[in-house]
């Protein structure tokens, strides 16, 4: 299937034609924040910077039920964990930014390793079709082009949409994406001109990202050399060790598993967790392998820029979305940290 054109005036028709088989999510502004919400027509945003929170919660909710159980001793099956039902409905997510889609691709390699696959992550991934929206105007905090990504990056997406003004160019990238476009109404074939215009927008957007960081030296150096570098003694000084950067990050994926009991029923729930927390690594014995702010701050950056690339075919655990830069209460700028690591 070739590239297609969707007129913005036909967006509602496009969305409606998918509703029979899919739930459709798109960026919507609520309480000053743009986030994904279910839509049933064309009433959503195409002109936004990025969603406030990373969309990782679409596949990895902040709190997610894994199992349920009875704690009633009279129940024959008491204390035996039962699957809580993991049958996500098919979804189309429209307007996801390429950096966030790239993050899903990185996380695919983490939730699925050489031995295990996380069923909660992959069942939702498989049931979801991602229609990305290229960034014509990247934000001042974007640095995707420095970390194997870019404003029109296609990895992780099923379809890439490019905003051409009055219309969108839709480029199918996977079988899943083609299937959705075949079902959708309101599309016409794209001509060469549209493709050229998209290419020009891409070049312009890439040019607009002026702040580059480099990771070539990090790739060369050994774990211990990076780990023992002197700059870590200063980075953590201002850090509050709150979890903001990890919770808004599209690739941060650490979680905790907790049992919650209410009366005679209980649930095993997994929740986002953060390596910034003192409790995160705390042993039952009282020993803590990462006892201070320095160790915890270093872990986060080392994990993203050294450990993940080392173990996952060079993928960097950061996609340059800039959310942590915008939301860190004490302005710890990941670009500066990486510059120090690479120096």
């Amino acid at each position: 299937m070739a590239e297609m054109i969707l007129k913005k005036s036909d967006l509602a028709e496009f969305v409606k034609s998918l509703l029979s088989d899919y739930q459709v999510l798109a960026p919507v502004k609520e309480d000053q924040k743009v986030n994904f919400a279910p839509v049933e027509d064309g009433e959503f945003l195409l002109d936004f910077q990025n969603t406030f929170l990373s969309p990782k919660h679409l596949f990895f909710p902040q709190s997610e039920k894994m199992f349920e159980f009875s704690t009633d001793k009279a129940d024959e099956e008491a204390f035996i964990l039962k699957e809580a039902g993991n049958n996500p409905q098919p979804r189309v997510v429209f307007g996801i930014r390429p950096c966030d889609a790239k993050a899903f691709q990185v996380l695919d390699k983490i939730f699925g390793n050489d031995q295990y696959a996380d069923p909660y992550w992959f069942s939702k991934r498989e049931a979801t079709v991602l229609i990305g929206l290229g960034c014509n105007h990247p934000c001042p905090t974007c640095f995707c082009t420095s970390v194997n990504c870019g404003p029109f990056h296609e990895e992780g997406l099923d379809v890439l949409a490019v905003d051409l003004g009055d219309s969108l160019l839709l480029r199918p990238l996977t079988e899943k994406g083609r299937k959705v476009l075949e079902q959708a109404k309101g599309l016409t074939s794209a001509d060469n001109q549209a493709g050229e215009k998209a290419a020009a927008l891409k070049a312009e957007a890439e040019k607009a990202i002026t702040r580059k960081v480099f990771t070539d030296e990090i790739a060369q150096r050994s774990v211990m050399e990076l780990f023992e570098a002197a700059h870590w003694d200063r980075v953590h000084e201002s850090c509050l060790n709150c979890g903001t950067c990890t919770y808004v990050c599209p690739t941060c994926h650490c979680f905790d598993i907790q049992d919650e009991v209410a009366g005679a029923v209980g649930d095993r729930v997994r929740n986002w967790d953060t390596c910034m927390s003192w409790l995160f690594t705390m042993h039952g014995s009282g020993h803590n392998p990462r006892p201070g702010k320095k160790e915890r701050v270093r872990q986060r950056f080392m994990h993203k820029f050294k450990y993940i690339p080392l173990k996952r075919d060079g993928e960097i655990g950061c996609v340059g979305c800039g959310r942590c830069i915008n939301l860190c209460p004490v302005n710890i700028d990941v670009r500066d940290v990486v510059r120090n690591m690479n120096a």
């Binding site: 709190s63 934000c139 509050l240 709150c242 919770y247 929740n271 939301l327 004490v330 700028d333």
Partner: protein, 315 residues
């Protein structure tokens, strides 16, 4: 603001070169507009990076507990009050800390500016009470006074209460401000309305604990949220657990809070978490006549009592 920056650098350089302190804790310019970062200047050269502007929202007293070195801190009225509170609570000694007092005319509210100006801001210039915001293809300006933080608009102690030196002359204190006018309206509502108000207030909470971590009062080695035996609250984003967290956090600040607003400044979700602490701050002032950090001699209200303290609610 320029004068303050100059004077802070001057003072910091003098203190460092004379060996009076090991480190000067102040702010450096943010890497993006509208932000600053806490900065630890250890040399005369590093002191050149210190600045002062309208975005010094984080409370630097937060970095004092458990320090062993001698420190100088740039302190607004609220920061100074928190330093006093730390001294009273034996978190640092008076001799150890050199307070560089910075009389303050309020800090601006980041969320409010971002709300007023929806487009990405690439540069900000501040002069004569005006903020000029520049973006990709625009330039607008805002009055500083229009975008001050709510706690700054009702601030009762803009001048440091205790200090070793002031970088500029004292500024006039605000007069005739009712700090609690909105709370009084809220408290006049029914319990169901108040319940709905506070539930709605924290509905976006992601439990990152930035409000706790930005708060100078939260220096416990093990916070109640991290206690496991017993576990006082669940870790999911369940409404009951979220509310329990906010109530206990606020209660732990009772009689200690200066309403510095660091908690709100740190909250990534823009939750007005001060609404909880202000309820207690108001009660402490009205019932026990205490305001935190005004003097080194006053005892905190929960460490003392009067035989005739109010007790109408007790049967």
């Amino acid at each position: 603001m320029e004068t303050r920056t100059e004077k802070i650098r001057e003072t910091a350089k003098r203190l460092l070169s004379e060996g009076k302190v090991d480190v000067v804790i102040g702010y450096r310019a943010g890497t993006i507009p509208l932000r600053t970062a806490p900065y630890f200047a250890r040399t005369v050269e590093e002191a050149e990076n210190l600045i002062w502007n309208s975005h010094c929202r984080i409370n630097l007293a937060n970095f004092l507990p458990r320090r062993k070195d001698r420190v100088a801190v740039t302190a607004k009225g609220c920061d100074a009050r928190n330093i006093v509170n730390h001294i009273i609570e034996n978190q640092i000694t008076r001799d150890q800390v050199y307070i560089i007092g910075v009389p303050c005319e309020g800090m601006v509210e980041l969320d409010l500016i971002l709300e007023k100006e929806g487009r990405p801001i690439q540069e900000i210039i501040e002069s004569n009470g005006k903020l000029t915001l520049k973006g990709r293809d625009f330039s607008t300006s805002l009055e500083r006074a229009e975008v001050l933080r709510q706690n700054c608009l009702t601030c009762a102690h803009r001048n440091p209460t205790v200090y070793d030196e002031l970088v500029v002359d004292q500024v006039p204190e605000l007069e005739g401000v009712d700090r609690y006018v909105d709370l009084k309206e809220l408290l006049a509502q029914s319990d169901a309305e108040r319940y709905a108000y506070f539930q709605n207030l924290v509905k976006d909470c992601i439990r990152c604990y930035a409000c706790r971590d930005a708060c100078p009062l939260c220096y416990c080695h093990v916070c109640f949220v991290d206690e496991t035996m017993p576990q006082w609250l669940g870790k999911s984003i369940d409404p009951a657990d979220v509310m329990t967290y906010h109530l206990l956090r606020a209660f732990h600040c009772a009689g200690r809070c200066t309403d510095c607003g660091a908690c709100e400044a740190a909250c990534p979700m823009g939750i007005k978490v001060r609404q909880f602490t202000r309820l207690l701050e108001k009660d402490v002032k009205e019932l026990y006549g205490y305001e935190t950090g005004l003097s080194l001699e006053a005892r905190p209200p929960l460490t003392v009592y009067r035989p005739d303290d109010p007790q109408e609610f007790i049967k």
